[in-house]
Symmetry: C2
Subunit: 240 residues, 2 copies
DNA sequence: CGCGATCTTGAACACGGTCAACTGACGTGG
DNA sequence: CCACGTCAGTTGACCGTGTTCAAGATCGCG
């Protein structure tokens, strides 16, 4: 019996959990819960025991190593996000995930998830939806890093985080940012210093309020303007 | 009846085509073939008539628009590649695809592909594999654009194209490059001029031979060295 | 209180972008 | 046949954004 409490309601794996019990004798999708301390790795690239994970609480980062460069943070995981979908395509993970703060995840063995998908077309369709969404997100992120100036990327990052929190029923204007400046920069293809400077700029204009480990978006409109048009930034900066 | 000729043998949709006939009364996966003239669009973002496409011949680019920036080329499609998988997750395409030269594709209606996947677990598993591969590729590309210097990206791009041609049974050392410098730059997050300069540099060192619309990789080792370690470039450039 | 890590800020530099001129291939028309 | 226009590519010179290097500020924590 699953308990759709709190974050479970907006969890990407919710439909999968809800399928339990419809096939008597079938084991539940979630093998077990797992607690992670800050800094602990959920899985590593090429790790055994392939599972997909749903984040119940906490905050994780997903990293990918690349020949000839430092590992890059591919995405951040919020409660309700799914990690390690790529393991459904092969035997091992292409990425690794690490907790940025104490977290809790649901461990869903890949084999069991695949079996469920084969038994229930609705779950197969849901998995396709998750894949497609993550693919589009990854492509959009790559396009942003390739084509946008630094302030646009930072503004877009803040807005995107807000959107994701909103989708979970939390405030999209005030939320925690448990990752460091260095990690934001790593994710956005910038240095820690550049991120810090741009956030300082936003703060100086009164667009955000930065508290240690969190932000408040005071002027979402201004951030949207910057994220759309880099020129807004230069103009605003000139007379400020 | 399908004819696994030429590129079909290494086509990502091959297992799907081969599933035909096993379910009498089921229509073949491929609705029809479609020819595209250079510059013609295969599908647009948000377009109706959702289909997945397998490239039989030619060369395509997949683009994604982004608020506040020019559209970016997300990937290039070679014969045997699959385009538009993301439509399996929703109703519309998140990207658009355009032929860089006269091309031919197999049109596989999304609904039919989903049905096939529900009937045959092996096809469902294959789709998951395709999704996972494309996701990993997109993430790796984003990580590269975020973390690598321009020469590393260009070298990596050439090597990656070679790898993909090799996987199809063609030479990974000499192949066509039907896209323009501008399009390579767009894909890599660089300008046309930077791409041109770097290719000139490679050519001056005898690492590549650039012919109009094609390249020959003369020293894959050197290119690999640059793609792994940007410093190789500066050192080599100093004494040249 | 003092140490360390994280963040902020400053100054100089370099990579890649921008602007511009030139080349060569190709196609058209005089 | 050559003049001409166009367009992609190449190359050069300059400049701006973001990096690098370095010095403080801030905060948590023993």
């Amino acid at each position: 019996m699953n308990r759709p409490l709190g974050i479970c309601l907006s969890c990407a794996m919710n439909p999968v959990c809800h399928s339990e019990g419809t096939q008597p004798g079938l084991r539940p999708a979630v093998e077990r819960r797992r607690r992670l301390a800050r800094g602990e790795k959920l899985f590593e690239a090429g790790s055994p025991g392939p599972s997909v994970f749903a984040v119940r609480a906490g905050f994780l980062k997903v990293c990918m190593a690349q020949g000839g460069g430092a590992p890059r943070i591919v995405r951040f995981l919020l409660p309700g996000d799914v990690a390690g979908l790529d393991v459904l395509g092969g035997r091992v993970h292409a990425t690794e995930a690490e907790a940025l703060e104490d977290s809790e995840v649901c461990d869903i063995p890949a084999a069991r998830l695949a079996m469920l998908a084969d038994l229930r077309p609705s779950i197969a369709a849901h998995l396709r939806r998750l894949f497609a969404a993550e693919l589009a997100e990854a492509q959009a992120h790559g396009a942003g890093v390739a084509g946008l100036a630094a302030p646009q990327r930072v503004a877009g990052f803040l807005l995107d985080m807000g959107r994701r929190w909103t989708a979970r029923g939390y405030s999209g204007r005030r939320f925690r940012l448990p990752m460091g400046r260095r990690e934001i920069g790593n994710h956005l293809g910038l240095t820690m210093e550049t991120v810090s400077r741009i956030l300082s700029g936003f703060r100086a204009r009164g667009w955000i309020l930065a508290t240690p480990g969190g932000v408040a978006l005071e002027s979402i409109e201004s951030l949207q303007a910057v994220s759309r048009d880099g020129a807004t930034w230069r103009k605003a900066g000139t007379h400020a």
